[in-house]
């Protein structure tokens, strides 16, 4: 099968589900659940009625989507750096683990909406606060997975490393990190989707642009097709980010896939 055909083959459930959804919403007629056709129309006017020289993107699209995605990625990268570093440190140092783990468990159970106040106090409103807020909200899956991955390295691998006198650095970068990588990637992937959620949350208070801001606007004006259009944009964005992530993962973890393949 050729590339586009294969993609089409993979995507066949999408039209089926959309069609069912259309039928169901038309039948139920709940105001807050408009049919997909109406959502599409609304999405079109919201994002795609701009001038041709800007690829038909509207001002709203150009203003909100890149701003949101930028903050999201910045927050995700920040969370990745902090989460992997701290997670591996906690995973390899029992003392550090005992000291910090309760705090980690504590912090990750606090609902982010409750923490907005703290972040507003620490950073004032703006991208800095939003990025930090996103990072704080999504760092946990990365941290916990990195910690688990680093804790549970095959003893035989570590014995081999210490027998050959590998330095701490080498142990970290050549043994611990690679063998924790599959778990870290699982964490990164969960976090990437969480980042979208936190991004929306961070834009619900005091923001002046972003997808969440637009969602709020639509909610406030009781524009349900608009609300759904933003939700759809979030879904599409999430799908795109996830696909990009999987492509990267396939490269980095190719050994893992092949080594664990049953023939």
């Amino acid at each position: 099968m050729s590339g586009p055909l294969r993609v089409a083959g993979r995507l066949w459930p999408v039209p089926v589900i959309v069609a069912l959804w259309e039928l169901l919403t038309r039948y139920l007629e709940i105001l807050s659940f408009p049919p997909p056709s109406q959502i599409a129309a609304s999405a079109y006017t919201m994002w795609l009625t701009g001038p041709a020289e800007r690829l038909w993107l509207t001002e709203a699209a150009l203003e909100n989507i890149p701003a949101s995605v930028g903050r999201l990625l910045a927050g995700w990268v920040l969370a990745g750096i902090v989460g992997i570093t701290l997670g591996v440190a906690l995973g390899r140092s029992p003392l550090l683990f005992r000291l910090i783990d309760p705090l980690v468990q504590f912090a990750r159970a606090i609902p982010p909406p409750m923490l907005l106040a703290l972040f507003l106090a620490l950073f004032a409103i703006g991208p800095r606060m939003q990025i930090n807020f996103i990072a704080f909200g999504i760092v946990w899956p990365i941290l916990i997975n990195a910690c688990e991955g680093a804790r549970h390295v095959d003893r035989q691998h570590l014995d081999t490393a210490s027998v050959f006198g590998l330095t701490g650095r080498e142990r970290l970068f050549r043994i611990i990190l690679p063998s924790a990588m599959p778990k870290i990637f699982a964490g990164l992937r969960v976090s990437l989707s969480l980042a979208l959620i936190l991004m929306v949350l961070s834009e619900l208070i005091g923001s002046t642009d972003g997808i969440g801001y637009q969602l709020l606007d639509a909610q406030r004006s009781y524009d349900f097709p608009g609300v759904w259009a933003t939700i759809v944009v979030l879904g599409v964005l999430g799908y795109a980010l996830n696909s990009a992530f999987l492509a990267a993962e396939r490269r980095v973890l190719s050994w893992h896939r092949s080594a664990k393949q049953t023939t």
Partner: protein, 260 residues
């Protein structure tokens, strides 16, 4: 060089505790090659792990060049019994072999060079770019031997290193070990189940008893060197010694057992 005093080890505690080593005393001189034989499950690997500082023995101590082994000593290499799990699946075969060489301060091309040479010596010249899980069992075992030999350690511990290769390759590897040992004056402790092998490669053969392991025999092998697969194995001393070791392993204590 290596001195083991009254070494004992018990796994676990309470009713399920298992006493694996029951007071081992052993001295290995610099440059010596000591073979350890003994029944399956007696405690050979446990002894080796204690020497390597990988487990903290419950009693007694291991001293290396006068200092007590508390953590893994420097300049040591081990070929593990479970070789397949001791290779890193995310690295190519060549990388697996060259990784420890960083400790020797070699630069990248030199490391690469040394790894390729070692792989060639174990007959794996073609496999350097492959990953460990693309190799057969015997090839994986040879990679882990190549890794240990390329490292040129002062002390080399080998746990049934030639168990998964064919007879021909086994003999080649035995000779390779003897050659490398001679060139670099390594001290080697080698665990094996093959009694002929223990007599062929060893300067001494230490026989362990059923668990808890204790030393039931320590035979010095006085065979004329350099050893050779055909002539050495035909030497009357060889035949005599292997019968002797065989009897010891089977638990028939012979009158001629001697500690040198």
């Amino acid at each position: 060089m290596l001195e083991i005093t009254n070494l004992s080890h018990t796994y676990g505690s309470g009713p399920t505790a298992h006493n694996a080593l029951g007071g081992i005393n052993l001295k290995v001189a610099q440059g010596e090659l000591v073979c350890v034989v003994g029944p399956s499950g007696c405690g050979k690997s446990t002894l080796l792990r204690s020497i390597a500082g990988l487990i903290r023995p419950s009693g007694g101590q291991v001293t290396l060049n006068g200092t007590r082994v508390e953590r893994t000593p420097d300049n040591l290499a081990v070929v593990f019994q479970d070789y397949s799990r001791s290779l890193f699946p995310w690295m190519s075969v060549a990388d697996n072999v060259s990784l420890p060489l960083r400790r020797k301060g070699l630069d990248k091309p030199r490391r690469k060079q040394a790894a390729l040479e070692a792989l060639e010596e174990v007959g794996l010249q073609g496999a350097s770019a492959k990953y460990p899980w693309q190799l057969s069992g015997g090839m994986q075992q040879r990679v882990s031997i190549a890794r240990a030999l390329a490292y040129r350690p002062a002390l080399l511990l080998m746990d049934e290193p030639f168990g998964s290769v064919d007879a021909q390759t086994r003999e080649d590897l035995e000779d390779l070990t003897l050659r490398v040992r001679g060139l670099h004056n390594m001290t080697i402790v080698l665990i094996t189940h093959d009694i002929d092998e223990s007599v062929y490669v060893g300067d001494r053969v230490v026989v362990l008893s059923k668990s808890p392991a204790g030393i039931v025999g320590d035979l010095r092998v006085h065979l004329p060197g350099p050893r050779d697969q055909i002539t050495t194995r035909e030497h009357p001393d060889f035949v005599h010694l292997r019968a002797e070791v065989g009897r010891l392993v089977r638990g028939m204590r012979s009158p001629s057992t001697s500690t040198p």
